[in-house]
């Protein structure tokens, strides 16, 4: 039995945790549900010793738990698996496994290797102990961290948004692992903003909103109830509407692009005005390369790219932007926004206000103020992107989009966003579509692909395995195809 009692944690004026009380039975999987910024991660970091609470008490098995750093927390039996597992990427799998273990002065890799392999076999994980951590997928990195924490004797395992960047197959394996651990008496805390996952895997759940507990539920419960606990109101997903398709906007013919890990081979794609095309596939199956070719960020090794009848295969990225091709990268902070520059400075760089040699700060500031209020970005014109939440970063990127876009290309448009932000983002995108913008996006979220696409191209190993009409497809079929299999 794990109890968190009346936890308070404030960051300046922000009450991240405002009197949170939560109880978890041993041997159960407990969900911690809430929208982005509800205080879930803060609470779990307190529990795992990464930050200390301002006040409150933690009891593990009835005993008060006093931890001041993550190491003490692990020793006490509590381990946190970060969304992006904290591995040293150039290290090998085995070195990451050994790091932080009570090893002798001279390392004994053989013993550690045996332990790692035995543990991996127990959960059907497949590792090459000598591979670098960098070569692992996010899912495999999580598996490695889970094994490491288990080998350290952890009895409470916390997973912070573990499914954000992993494939459907890996998700299934992760869930099977968690069930097995719970059966063995382990306490599992599953942090997520995804209702369907909480519903699928958890026995009980605590719902947080704005740093406070709004409900404790025993699953299953209706998702509308969970949604109203999360947001304080019901959210009705937008009905699917279709628009009449116009002329082809972009025509990619027999594209081949060989990269280090991805070999995109002989793929064709046509998007018409008002059409939404989803690109599905495991990470690294070629869909990202395809989007980059489409955006003019990478020249194909063979094939042609035609936008509105103009051959732009060899044109620059700037030329693509000039003819209305717009690219929204998945790595919002890395590629889309500039860390350290304010919102106003972003609009001065890329806004619609014409800029000469001397920056028109008044114009840029005005545009920034108008756009952030129109796109409900929670922040000011002086905010820097890294201070915004993922949802607000995506809103800012949408706000910075030019008024007229012919072709909108997006990678993982709602990755990491809660339902409300995701709905809002898609509402904006579909309005563009209604105005005749062609939309091509990649996503790992099957529901998103099925709900918003007209057609879905399933990529596998650099080729299009199958093209589906979204209205006739279902998640199970899509899941199989992404894994490279036809449904039996």
């Amino acid at each position: 039995m794990l109890e968190l009692i009346d936890i308070h944690k404030h960051f300046g004026p922000v009450r991240a945790n405002d009197g949170v009380t939560m109880r978890v039975e041993a041997g159960t999987i407990h969900g911690l549900l809430g929208e982005n910024g509800a205080g879930k991660s803060t609470l779990m970091k307190v529990l795992a010793g990464f930050i200390s609470a301002d006040s409150g008490e933690i009891l593990l098995g009835g005993e008060p738990l006093e931890v001041s750093n993550p190491k003490e927390s692990v020793t006490a039996g509590i381990g946190l698996l970060h969304q992006d597992p904290l591995l040293c990427l150039p290290f090998s799998v085995l070195e990451n496994f050994m790091l932080g273990r009570p090893e002798s002065f001279v390392l004994d890799p053989d013993t550690a290797r045996t332990e790692l392999e035995d543990l991996a076999a127990r959960f059907d994980f497949q590792f090459l102990a000598d591979a670098t951590a960098r070569s692992l997928t996010v899912g495999e990195r999580q598996q490695l961290e889970i094994l490491r924490l288990l080998s350290l004797g952890v009895r409470v395992l916390i997973l912070d948004e573990p499914t954000t960047a992993i494939s459907a197959t890996q998700r299934a394996l992760l869930f099977a692992t968690l069930r097995k651990l719970a059966e063995e008496g382990m306490t599992v805390i599953f942090v997520s903003h995804k209702l369907e996952e909480i519903d699928e895997i958890c026995d009980t759940a605590t719902v947080l909103r704005a740093g406070q507990v709004t409900g404790e539920v025993v699953l299953p419960v209706s998702s509308s109830e969970l949604v109203s606990l999360m947001f304080g109101k019901a959210i009705i997903p937008e009905e699917r509407t279709d628009v009449d398709l116009g002329e082809p906007v972009v025509d990619l013919r027999n594209i081949t692009a060989i990269e280090r890990l991805v070999r995109l081979q002989d793929v064709s794609l046509t998007a018409r005005a008002g059409e939404v095309i989803g690109l599905a596939g495991l990470a690294g199956s070629g869909q990202q390369t395809m989007l980059k070719v489409c955006a003019g960020q990478r020249k194909p090794d063979a094939g042609t790219v035609v936008v509105h009848g103009e051959d732009v295969t060899r044109s620059s990225y700037n030329h693509h932007m000039g003819i209305g091709v717009h690219w929204l990268p998945a790595d919002r902070l890395g590629e889309g926004l500039v860390e350290g520059l304010s919102v106003t400075e972003h609009f001065a760089l890329a806004g619609d206000t014409p800029q000469g040699f001397v920056v028109d700060w008044a114009g840029a500031g005005e545009e920034a103020a108008t756009k952030i209020s129109h796109f409900s970005v929670k922040g000011t014109t002086e905010s820097t992107p890294e201070s915004l939440s993922g949802g607000n970063q995506q809103r800012l990127l949408l706000a910075m989009m030019p008024d007229h876009v012919e072709l909108l290309l997006m990678e993982h448009p709602t990755r990491g966003l809660d339902i409300e932000s995701a709905e809002w983002v898609w509402h904006q995108i579909l309005e563009r579509r209604n105005d005749g913008t062609a939309i091509v996006f990649s996503s790992a979220d099957l529901d998103e692909l099925l709900r918003y696409s007209d057609r879905i191209l399933v990529f596998f190993a650099g080729r299009v395995l199958r093209e589906l009409v979204a209205a006739d497809a279902d998640a199970e079929e899509l899941g199989y195809l992404i894994g490279g299999k036809e449904r039996e």
Partner: protein, 333 residues
Amino acid sequence: MVLGLLAAAPLVIALAIAGDLDVTTGTVIAGAAPLIYATIGETITEKAGVVNLSLDGSLLLSAMAGFGGAFMSGSVIVGFIAAAAASALVALIIAYASIELRLNQIAVGFVLFLLTTELSALLGGPFVREPGPSVPNLEIPILADIPFLGKALFQHNLSIYGSFLLIAVAYWFFYRTRPGLELQAVGERPESAFARGISVRGARYFYTVLGGALVGIGGAAFSLDQKFGWSEGHVRNFGWIALAIVIFGGWHPFRVALGCYLFGALQVVALKLQPVFPGLSQVLPILPFPTMILTLVVINRPGFRALGDRFASLRKFLASEPPASLGTNFEQG
């Protein structure tokens, strides 16, 4: 191909000019010893995520302190200790400024470079061109009589044998011990190290100061052995070359040592060419510096990394990946 030629060329020329290869090899190996201390020391510091940019000044200061210490006490050992202490103190300032004051390591390092350079000239005044003690030769019995290897490797002194040992110990420590693995984690991803109970602060202090002390020993190995004596700006520029060798050596002790020996070879070649081209006597002594940088650029072509992907056993040797958190400050807890 180009790489092979470039790396081999100086050695081939040396062979042609020198004639007695064993003695020349011995000279190269001995001449590189101070740089081995400095580069391995800096490698240790950088693996912990800290850049000691003061290296050139630290070497000058410790060369001065080493010679001055030995000069005044009459003991070479006291000289080495003084040199290590002087350079370790500079490193401690860098660690403190980065860890406690969160100052930019590059800026602090550069200011300290200027300061220590000036300080070495100021404090070194009394020792300029004075005679003093030097590291005594110590042939290793039996081994010294092996043909070729004996003259090349075993007819030196303790400071040079120490440099061999340091290369091996550094390799063993980095890749075979728990603290070595932890050290690399601190420089690679301090959050990860912290989450696993490793004190990032403690490690950065310890390895920055340890690296600084080794740099100091390098300085003393110059002024008490390889470039015996003291004068203003005595070992100028060797610190910058050391910094470059660490980077191009991929933070791997063997590759870094290879870089030092290559530079040593270039210096010997330049020396041997002096009587051949007397008109170039002003240019030849500085020629090894740009040549070294060029060579290092060439051997860091991407092809090398690809080779590492093919042969797993060579991966660490060829990876040449900087510690990901190098030069950044980390807020613990």
